[in-house]
C-alpha cells in the first residue's frame, strides 16, 4: 500500500471514529488503536502513539466547549491531575517494558470496561452527607448551573478518588487512551460529584494526562508523523461533524451498536495478544 493510500484510508477511518466517538461520548481514541493494529497491521507502539495524539486533540477541542458552560471544577481537576500525570509517566514507563502482546490484552480488557460504562453510565449519587475534610481544606466544593438555579455540591472520599485517578493515569500512559470512562466513574461514584461535573471535569483532565506521557512517546519514537497526521486530522474532522449533528448523546441504540463494535474489537485485540499475533 502506498503512503497516499494509507493516509487516505486511515484518515477516512479516523473520521468515522471521531464522528461516532463524539456522538456516543466514548471518544475516538479507543477505536484508533484496534483499527490500526487489526486492519492495517501497524505495530502497536505506533498505534498507541497515534491514538494518544488523537486523545489530546479531541479532548482539548471538547474541553474548550465545556469549560465555558461552568460545569468544570478546575480545582478538583487540577488536584487530581497530580495523580493522573504521575500515573501517566509510570504507564509510559511500563509501555516500554511490557511486550506488545501484553499491552494488547490489557487494552482489550479496558476497552470492554469502557463499553460497559458507556451503555450503563453510573447513577448519580448526590447526597447531603458532609464533605471530605480535604475537600474543605482545598476548597474543592463548588456549585453548578441548573435550570432551577445554581446547585451546591460537596466532594467526598478524596483519597480514594486520588488513588483511582493514579490508576487511570497509568492506563492512559500504557495504552495511549484517555481513560475517560474510569475518570468519570471515579468522580461520579466515589467522589460523588454530579454527573455533568464529572464528565466535563474528566474531559478537562484527559488532555493534560495524555500530554504527560506524550513527551515520552515522542522521544521513544512511538509517534510517527506519517501515521499521526491523517489520524489526528481525520478524528478532529469527524468529531467536529459529530458535534454539529442533531442525533446526540442520549441515543441509547447508537451506544449499544458502538458497544458491540467495541466488544468485537476488544475480543480481536485480546485474541491476537494471547496468540502472540499482534
Amino acid at each position: 500500500m502506498t503512503q497516499l493510500d494509507f493516509a487516505l484510508i486511515t484518515g477516512a477511518g479516523a473520521v468515522l471514529a471521531g464522528f461516532l466517538g463524539s456522538l456516543t461520548g466514548l471518544g475516538g481514541g479507543v477505536v484508533i488503536t484496534p483499527m490500526l493494529t487489526i486492519l492495517f497491521g501497524v505495530d502497536i507502539r505506533y498505534a498507541i502513539g497515534a491514538s494518544l495524539i488523537t486523545v489530546i486533540a479531541t479532548s482539548s477541542g471538547a474541553a474548550a466547549a465545556y469549560v465555558k458552560e461552568g460545569f468544570t471544577n478546575i480545582r478538583v481537576g487540577m488536584f487530581l491531575e497530580v495523580a493522573t500525570t504521575i500515573g501517566a509517566l509510570i504507564g509510559a514507563a511500563l509501555a516500554g517494558v511490557f511486550a506488545p502482546s501484553v499491552i494488547a490484552v490489557i487494552f482489550g480488557l479496558v476497552l470492554i470496561y469502557s463499553a460497559i460504562v458507556s451503555v450503563h453510565p453510573p447513577k448519580e449519587v448526590v447526597d447531603g452527607t458532609p464533605a471530605d475534610p480535604w475537600a474543605n481544606t482545598l476548597r474543592l466544593n463548588n456549585n453548578y448551573p441548573t435550570p432551577q438555579g445554581t446547585r451546591n455540591y460537596t466532594v467526598h472520599q478524596v483519597g480514594a478518588g486520588f488513588g483511582l485517578m493514579s490508576f487511570a493515569g497509568v492506563l492512559s500512559g500504557l495504552l495511549g487512551i484517555g481513560s475517560g470512562a474510569l475518570k468519570v466513574v471515579a468522580m461520579d461514584r466515589v467522589m460523588r460529584l454530579p454527573f455533568k461535573v464529572s464528565t466535563t471535569t474528566s474531559n478537562f483532565m484527559i488532555g493534560v494526562t495524555a500530554a504527560a506521557s506524550a513527551g515520552v512517546y515522542l522521544h521513544r519514537g512511538y509517534i510517527d508523523p506519517a501515521i499521526a497526521f491523517p489520524i489526528m486530522l481525520g478524528t478532529l474532522a469527524g468529531a467536529l461533524i459529530g458535534s454539529r449533528t442533531l442525533a446526540k448523546l442520549q441515543n441509547q441504540t447508537l451506544r449499544i451498536v458502538f458497544a458491540i463494535v467495541i466488544f468485537f474489537l476488544a475480543a480481536q485485540m485480546m485474541y491476537r495478544g494471547i496468540t502472540g499475533n499482534i
Partner: protein, 116 residues
C-alpha cells in the same frame, strides 16, 4: 468566569494552530512520499526528541513540520496548566499554586524527554 473563557479560547486556538501546521506538513509529506510504500509493521524506534523535530522543521522536512504541529498540540494542555497557575497566583491560593506547580513539573519532565 473570565479565566474559564480565556482557557477555552486558548485550547481552541492551540488545537486549530496545531491542526493547520500538521495539515501543511501532511500535504507536503504526501507530495514528496505519496508513492512510496508504507511499512509500519515493524517498529523502528526512531527517536524523535524536541531538538530533532525543530531542526527537521527548520530544514522544511515535512516530517519535521508535522512534528512541530504535534509539539504545539502537546503544548496546548501544558499552556492550560500554566494559565491555571497564573490564575491561582492572582487568587493567592497557596495550596493550589503548589499543586499546579507539581503538575507542571511532571509535564515538563515528560515533555523534555526525561527518562522513565
Amino acid at each position: 468566569m473570565r479565566i474559564e473563557l480565556t482557557m477555552s479560547r486558548l485550547l481552541r486556538f492551540g488545537v486549530l494552530l496545531s491542526a493547520a501546521v500538521v495539515l501543511l506538513g501532511g500535504v507536503l509529506y504526501l507530495l514528496q512520499h505519496g508513492r512510496a510504500a508504507e511499512d509500519y509493521h515493524l517498529f523502528s524506534g526512531e527517536r524523535y526528541g524536541l531538538r530533532s523535530i525543530i531542526s527537521a522543521a527548520l530544514r522544511l522536512d515535512p516530517r519535521g513540520i508535522i512534528g512541530m504541529g504535534l509539539v504545539f498540540l502537546i503544548a496546548t494542555p501544558v499552556a492550560r496548566v500554566l494559565f491555571a497557575l497564573i490564575s491561582f497566583l492572582r487568587e493567592r491560593d497557596k495550596n493550589f499554586v503548589w499543586i499546579t506547580m507539581i503538575v507542571l513539573a511532571v509535564l515538563l519532565y515528560g515533555f523534555l524527554g526525561g527518562k522513565v
